[in-house]
């Protein structure tokens, strides 16, 4: 009987392993094709074979404008390095500001007692329901007013405040025992010390999760840079990729080389940080 049950268990395990592995392969197939196409010479890119018959790494230097495109003899007009830098710079700036302001506000909403606290917080929550498109048009007008069009700060400042981040960190901070700050207050700690030395280290999982979420959102943001920027020097990767499609025409292998360079850093970030991200997302969702 026991043996029988363990047999079923073993059997079920193998089936699950099989199903999961097949799903994993199916989900990763587009990525596999992307990498494969990026290593193909032009003559081969329309064939369905996954393994290039004559693999070449030449597409990468062409996209990076190191060598000229052999078809046209011209350098591809793509500022890949510059766009990379822009994306990372904008994402880091946004993340830094947003995490800091959100943490400060979350501290005020969770650890301090003041009149009207819950009303203001409710207002924050209510605005999370308003679609981004409603805000987009007036925010654009504000940017025009401040002459922020075509600048880095025009991209960073409006994104530096988020109701979602405040909400997420508040949930984390609420789960820290209130006895801690009382004890610290008695020991003569200032509110800033309580915030910086006690609460922030304890809320670290939440802060890390928010950092990853914000960084990713800012790195991938498309809509706002698209309407804010006309100078291709300032484009982040997302908007730059859009011009790439029109300038390359049907040269799939070059487009895929650019896509690989765009996606691979994200995969690396994700595989290293996924533990924090998962717990943060789950907390935000379950308690929300």
């Amino acid at each position: 009987m026991n043996q029988n049950k363990s047999g079923i268990r073993r059997y079920g395990f193998l089936v699950r392993l099989l199903v999961l592995s097949v799903l994993g392969v199916v989900i990763s197939l587009p990525f596999v094709w992307m990498v494969s196409a990026s290593f193909k010479p032009r003559a081969e890119v329309e064939n369905i074979n996954l393994v290039p018959i004559h693999p070449t790494a030449r597409n990468y230097p062409i996209v990076l404008s190191i060598v000229p495109d052999p078809g046209t003899g011209k350098f591809v007009p793509m500022q890949f390095g510059r766009w990379y830098f822009n994306s990372v710079f904008i994402a880091v700036g946004t993340t830094l500001f947003q995490v800091l302001t959100s943490a400060l506000a979350a501290f005020a909403f969770s650890r301090l007692q003041w009149r009207g606290r819950d009303t203001v917080f409710l207002m924050y929550l209510a605005t999370m329901m308003i679609p981004g498109v409603v805000l987009m048009i007036p925010n654009y007008q504000t940017m025009v007013l401040f002459h922020f069009i075509n600048t880095y700060h025009g991209l960073i400042i409006p994104a530096a405040f988020s109701a979602f981040g405040t909400f997420l960190l508040r949930q984390f901070m609420l789960s820290i025992s209130p006895a801690l700050d009382e004890a610290a207050t008695i020991d003569g700690a200032s509110p800033w010390m309580i915030f910086w030395d006690i609460i922030m280290p304890l809320a670290r999982p939440g802060v890390i999760a928010l950092t990853i979420i914000t960084f990713l959102g800012a790195y991938q943001s498309f809509f706002w840079p698209l309407i804010m920027l006309s100078d291709s020097q300032l484009y982040p990767m997302s908007v730059g990729m859009l011009t790439l499609d029109s300038s390359y025409g049907q040269q799939t292998e070059l487009i895929m080389a650019a896509t690989v360079m765009n996606v691979v850093p994200l995969i690396v970030i994700f595989v290293t940080c996924q533990k924090f991200l998962v717990s943060g997302l789950q907390l935000g969702g379950v308690k929300g």
């Binding site: 501290f107 007008q141 109701a163 990729m241 997302l281």
Partner: protein, 494 residues
């Protein structure tokens, strides 16, 4: 308070003490508030400047003809933007009866939908009410169909009427149809509305030719949501329990064996002149080897990858995949068709009006299926009490029963949250795909409301009108959320 107490010499000692301590508390409270404001200030300023005031500004803007074109003179236009957007005007003779019945039918349709949901989820009272609503809607369709001699309407209406009456008797055998009934009724009433469409189109035209079409597109693109949610749940259930891979030594041996086997088989296939099959074989065995060595976390990571990397780059990847001439999907389909001697051309995907939406949906499902929803379901599943499942096992429940009566009700809050978020996202979404992949085409078939707002605001520079659309969109989102909230709560308490 403190000042008052000091200023009154007649107050006795005890009172002074009380007032003083009150005053101290007041001072402390004020201090606390000041500290709180200091902490809140940076965020609050940004919040006011980029969220709160813009909301008000946008609302005001929707009542003006604000435009970035210098030729347009600014003026208040009242409700004109909204009337232009959602109103209809008569063409030809314009039959008020048609308009009246049509609007009534839409209300009946929505009512039937809400009532059916209610009946499906809430208690018996709701069921009866929903049946009455459905019955009335059905009656309305029959009358409308008879007036306009449309047999489709009469048929749909009759079925709705019968369903409504049948649902009104709780213990009738039709009550098994709690899940099937609402779907059938909704489908039939929708068919009825469809039949009524020509009469309406002959007599009235919408003021904005595009709005309803784009609203329809937006809703159509949301058809992927249930598929995606169901897939997420299935994947979460596969990932919920750790794989029983045994102790570290066994895991290592298993992993290395799989890897070696994969490399051997792959190499063999390669040597036999099938490199593609070899590659896929190697990938499969590597995934399995990783799964054995590091357990379910490998699969979770793999499934989440499309969500994490989602963005313009992946959309461009999918454009290449969908390319009718060079993309692997169509090349592969053509090869399959050729192999089986089927005389059909593979779909043109993004270039074809009939397939563009489906292409978007497939891409959306691929991107989202193993994403945040799956993680939320995993968290929800880990909260299902083990005792409940054990108890169900003792009672001899099969896997299906266990899912239906234990897991699914326990997951209701998660499902509720996920569906609200998905619906909100779906109604507001579709901009990036439309902008990157299709420019809203072909023939506007992938333009969603979000993209329409963008077009109006930044191509036609008509900011006031765009603001009006965004507020109508907000209203739709709000109503959808409210309905979801109402019935989700019912789900919650069960």
């Amino acid at each position: 308070m403190g000042v008052n107490a000091v200023g009154n010499p007649l107050t006795n000692g005890r009172n002074i003490e009380v007032s003083n301590s009150k005053g101290r508390r007041n001072v402390r409270a004020r201090r606390q508030t000041l500290i709180a404001i200091a902490f809140l200030l940076p965020n609050l300023l940004g919040f006011l400047a980029f969220t709160f005031l813009p909301v008000i500004f946008s609302f005001w803007m929707s009542f003006t003809n604000w435009s970035l074109k210098p030729a347009v003179k600014f003026e208040y236009v009242g409700l004109r933007n909204f009337i232009d957007l959602i109103g209809v005007h008569a063409i030809g003779r314009g039959d008020p009866d048609v308009l009246f019945i049509y609007v009534l039918s839409i209300i009946g349709f929505l009512g039937a939908g809400i009532g059916a949901l209610w009946g499906n989820i809430a208690d018996w009272k709701g069921t009866r009410l929903s049946s009455i609503i459905v019955g009335i809607a059905g009656l309305g369709f029959v009358v409308a169909g008879l007036v306009h001699l449309s047999d489709g309407l009469v048929l749909g209406g009759l079925v709705a009427l019968i369903c409504g009456v049948a649902g009104g008797f709780k213990d009738s055998e039709f009550s098994i149809g709690y899940g099937v009934l609402p779907g059938a009724i909704l489908a039939l009433t929708a068919a009825g509305l469809w039949c009524f469409q020509p009469a309406m189109a002959a007599n009235y035209a919408p003021n904005d030719n595009y709005f309803y079409f784009y609203l329809y597109n937006t809703c159509y693109l949301m058809l992927g949501i249930p598929v995606s949610i169901g897939g997420s749940l299935a994947m979460a259930m596969l990932l919920n329990e750790e794989l029983p891979t045994g102790p570290a030594r066994e895991r290592a041996i298993g992993g290395i064996t799989c890897l070696a086997l994969g490399l051997f088989l792959g190499g063999l296939l390669w040597a036999l002149g099938k490199p593609d099959a070899g590659l896929i074989c190697v990938i499969f065995w590597i995934v399995a080897a990783l799964g054995i060595s590091f357990n379910v976390v490998v699969y979770r990571t793999l499934f989440y990858l499309p969500t994490f990397t989602a963005g313009v780059a992946l959309m461009i990847l999918w454009m290449a995949l969908y390319n009718p001439k060079t993309g692997p999907i169509d090349v592969g389909l053509a090869a399959i068709f050729g192999f089986f001697h089927i005389h059909a051309t593979p779909p043109q995907w993004l270039a074809d009006v009939a397939w563009a939406k489906s292409a978007m949906i497939i891409m959306g499902v691929w991107t989202g299926i193993g994403g945040t929803n799956m993680l939320l379901y995993l968290a929800g599943l880990s909260n299902v009490p083990k005792e409940l499942i054990d108890a169900a096992n003792v009672d001899g429940a099969g896997a299906l029963d266990r899912f239906r009566h234990v897991t699914w009700p326990q997951l209701a809050p998660t499902t509720f949250f996920i569906s609200i978020m998905s619906i909100i996202g779906g109604l507001q979404g579709g901009f990036d795909q439309a902008r990157v992949m299709t420019q809203g085409g072909p023939a506007g078939s992938t333009t969603t409301l979000a993209y329409y707002i963008y077009q109006k605001a930044f191509s036609e520079l008509d900011m006031g009108y765009a603001a009006a659309i965004s507020w109508v969109l907000f209203l739709i989102v709000f109503v959808a959320t409210a309905i979801n909230w109402k019935f989700g709560k019912g789900l919650d308490s069960e």
